[in-house]
Symmetry: C2
Subunit: 404 residues, 2 copies
C-alpha cells in the first residue's frame, strides 16, 4: 500500500472538475463539483440514518439500485433538504448532468451540502454544467474537492496504489465535513474512486463493513447530518480480475479502502469546525467490539473533555465519566488512561484511580496538534478507535451565525 | 400552590447552614452545607446512571435502604469519585456529621461535587462540622445553597406552600448544577425538604415519577455526571394525615413536587456553564410520550442549535435535523416549528418545509433571555418539555481549564 497523488483522479479512467456556478453568492468560492468515470462503474453508497434526510439522498438511493454509476455531481451552499420540490430539483440536475456527460440520468450520483430549509434553484447548476464538463481533466481532483467544501478550512484528498493479481490499482478519495459531524452509517460527503474491478455486491459489502470502523467513529459535534453520504465508484480500468467473493484480492481491496477512509476520517476530525486539535481515542481490552466502540465514541463526543483538550488540561476524570455513561459494559476499577502526543506520554489513571503526574509535562503533551487518548479497559480482547476534535471559541463563533 | 420564601428551611422542622471549611483553597467560597430535620424523615433519592459514580452515592444508597434520613451533608470542590478509599472517606464524614447532630451515621445523606479523581481529605470537613452544626438556623437555606455551588453563578432555591387535609404544608429545594448536566435518572445535586407526612414508599414513587419529566429532561452539555443526585426529605411536621396511597393528597403532593422541580430545572438550565439564554423545547403531537421526550431532548442537546441560539440565528433546519436523529418515530412532512419569546413569535417551518419569515423579527425574538422552541409533530396526542441553554464562548472558557 503506497500513498500517491491525484485524489479522485488517481485511478485510471476518472476525471474531475470544480467551478463556481452561482449557488453561492460569493464568486470566489467553488460550489459545484463533477467526477466522471469513462466506463460505467460498480458503485455503492452509505447514507445518513437521520429520519430527516435530503432530497439528493432519495434520488441517489434510487439511482444506485442497480449498483452502477458513471458520475457524481455535488453542489455546496444549499443542502436541498426540508424544502418542497427538492426531489424534482435533484432529478432535474441529474438529467442536465447526464446530458453533458452522455449517459442516463440514473447513472448519476447526486449530493448537496449547505443550509437546510432553503430551496435549491437548479438554474445556475444547469447553466454551469456544460463548462464544468468541458473542463473535466485528470488533474481535477483539487477543484472538485474545493467545490464540495462548506466551512472546511482544508481540502481533503488522498490516493493509494496497490496490486491485485499483478495489476497496479489506484484508489483515491475526497471528502468534505466540518460541522454537523456525528455520522451514524456514513459521514458528510465522501467520494472515492478506484480502477479495480469488483462486483457491485462485493463493493457494497466492503463499504458497509469499513464505515462501521471509520466514518461512523468520527464526531465533531454530536449532530448527525441530514445529507451524509459516502460513495465509492470502481470502474475496472486497472484490468484486474473482477473481485466477486471474499478472496485474497478482496482483503487487499479492503485494506486499500481502509487506508483511504481512515485518512479522510482523520482529516475531517482535524478540520472540525473551530478545531485546533485532532483527538484520537484508542480503546483496548473491551469485552466486545461494540463496548470498545461505545467507549471510544462517547469520549470523543464529550463536550467537557473536548473543551479540556482545547485548554490542554489533563482533566482525565472527564474521560472516565464519558466511559461511564457510554452504555458499554465496563469495570471502572480496571481502567487505565493515558494521553500521548509527539511530546510524549502521560499516564493519569490506573485501575480507575488517579495517579500522580507532572502537570507541566501533561500540559506539554496536550499542547500538540494531535492527541491520543489511550484507554485500556483490561477486561477483554476487543479494541476500537474514534476520532474527534477539541471544542473551541471558534466552533461557537462559526455556528452562532452560520447562515449569514 | 403558592410560592413562598425560605428554600429548604421553608418547611417546618428543617434548619440549614453553609460554611467554608477548607476543601477549597479559596476562603471566600463556601464549600460545606448541612440540612437537618428535627424529626427522622421519610427520604428518597434518585441517582446518576453513570457506571462510574461517586463514593457518596454508594454510601447514600446504603443509608437510604430503610427510606429514612435526618440530615444531608454536602461538600463542593472535590467529587470524591475515582479515587481509592472514597467510600471510607464518605463514611467517616457521615459519622462525624451524625455525632454533631446526634443521630446514627446511617441517617445521613451524603453528597460531593467538584473535581473527579482527586482524593477528598475528610479532615477539614470533620474540623468544620461542629461550627456548621452550631450555626444551623431556620434562615440557613441561602448559606446551604452557596455551600454546594461549583461553577454556578446563581443560588438555586425555591419553596411552595400547599394544603393537605386542611393542614398547611411547605416544600422547598436547593440545587446546584451548571456543567456536566445531562442527567439520566437524576441531575446534579438537588435537596428538597417538605413537612408533609408521606410514607417512604409513596415518596419514592412520587420522586421517580417526577424526575422522568423534570431533571431527566435537562441538558447543558450532554455529559451525564458521576455524582448526580436528587433527594427529598419529608418530616411530617405539618401534621397532615400520612400519605400512604395514590389518593387526592398524593396528587396535591405531586403537584407541589413538580412545581419545585420544574423551577429548579429551569434555574439549572438557565445557569448552564457560560449560558446566556434558557431554551425550553415544547414538543406536542407525538405518537407516544417517549417519542415526544426524545425529540425535545435531542433538540436542546444539539450543539449546532445551541450555538445558533447564542447567535440569535433562526437556523430552524438544525431543529429538524435534531428531531430527525432523535430516534423518535416522526413524520417530517407534518412538522411545524416556531420560536417564541417575550418579543413575540416567529413561525419558521410548516409541514417540514421552510416558510417565509422576517429575519429582523426573528433576530428580535431570539435576542431575549428565554426562548421557547415550539415543535408540533401533528402525529399524535403526546407532549413533552425539555430545558437547555445556548452554547457560548464562555462554556469553552470555563471548561478549557476547570481544574485551575
Amino acid at each position: 500500500m503506497k500513498l500517491t497523488e491525484g485524489g479522485v483522479c488517481a485511478a485510471k479512467g476518472f476525471t474531475a472538475n470544480g467551478i463556481h456556478c452561482g449557488v453561492r453568492p460569493n464568486k470566489t468560492k467553488k460550489d459545484l463539483a463533477l467526477i466522471v468515470s469513462e466506463r460505467l462503474a460498480s458503485a455503492a453508497a452509505v447514507y445518513t440514518t437521520n429520519k430527516v434526510f435530503g432530497a439528493p439522498i432519495t434520488v441517489t438511493k434510487k439511482h444506485l439500485e442497480n449498483g452502477r454509476a458513471k458520475a457524481c455531481v455535488c453542489n455546496s451552499g444549499i443542502a436541498n433538504t426540508c424544502c418542497s420540490g427538492g426531489v424534482e430539483t435533484a432529478e432535474r440536475i441529474c438529467e442536465a448532468a447526464a446530458k453533458v456527460i452522455g449517459c442516463g440520468a440514473d447513472d448519476i450520483i447526486i449530493a448537496s451540502t449547505g443550509v437546510i430549509g432553503q430551496p435549491l434553484d437548479p438554474a445556475p447548476i444547469e447553466k454551469g454544467l456544460p463548462a464544468l464538463a468541458a473542463g473535466l481533466n485528470a488533474n481535477g481532483s483539487d477543484d472538485a474537492a474545493a467545490g464540495i467544501m462548506t466551512t472546511d478550512t482544508v481540502k481533503k484528498e488522498i490516493a493509494v496504489e496497490f496490486e491485485l493479481g499483478g495489476k497496479t490499482c489506484r484508489m483515491g478519495g475526497i471528502a468534505k465535513g466540518s460541522g454537523m459531524i456525528h455520522p451514524d452509517m456514513a459521514t458528510m460527503l465522501v467520494f472515492i474512486t478506484c480502477d479495480a474491478a469488483i462486483s457491485p455486491e462485493m463493493l457494497k459489502k466492503a463499504l458497509s463493513a469499513d464505515v462501521k470502523n471509520t466514518f461512523n467513529m468520527i464526531s465533531v459535534d454530536g449532530d448527525t447530518s441530514t445529507n451524509d453520504m459516502v460513495t465509492v465508484l470502481c470502474n475496472g480500468c486497472a484490468g484486474n480480475a473482477e473481485i466477486t467473493g471474499e478472496n485474497g484480492d478482496y482483503e487487499v481491496f479492503m485494506k486499500a479502502l481502509n487506508t483511504v477512509t481512515v485518512h479522510l476520517c482523520r482529516m475531517i476530525a482535524a478540520d472540525g469546525e473551530g478545531a485546533t486539535k485532532l483527538l484520537e481515542c484508542k480503546v483496548s481490552g473491551a469485552k466486545t467490539g461494540d463496548d470498545a466502540k461505545k467507549v471510544a465514541k462517547s469520549v470523543v463526543c464529550s463536550s467537557l473533555l473536548k473543551a479540556a483538550m482545547f485548554g490542554a488540561d489533563a482533566n482525565w476524570g472527564r474521560v472516565l465519566c464519558a466511559a461511564g455513561y457510554s452504555g458499554a459494559d465496563i469495570d471502572v476499577n480496571k481502567i487505565d488512561v493515558s494521553f500521548v502526543s509527539e511530546a510524549g506520554e502521560v499516564a493519569v489513571c490506573k485501575n480507575g484511580c488517579g495517579i500522580g503526574f507532572s502537570e507541566e509535562h501533561a500540559k506539554k503533551v496536550l499542547s500538540e496538534k494531535e492527541i491520543d487518548i489511550v484507554i485500556a479497559l483490561n477486561d477483554g480482547e476487543c479494541d476500537s478507535t474514534a476520532w474527534g476534535c477539541d471544542l473551541t471559541y471558534d466552533y461557537v463563533k462559526i455556528n452562532g451565525d452560520y447562515r449569514t
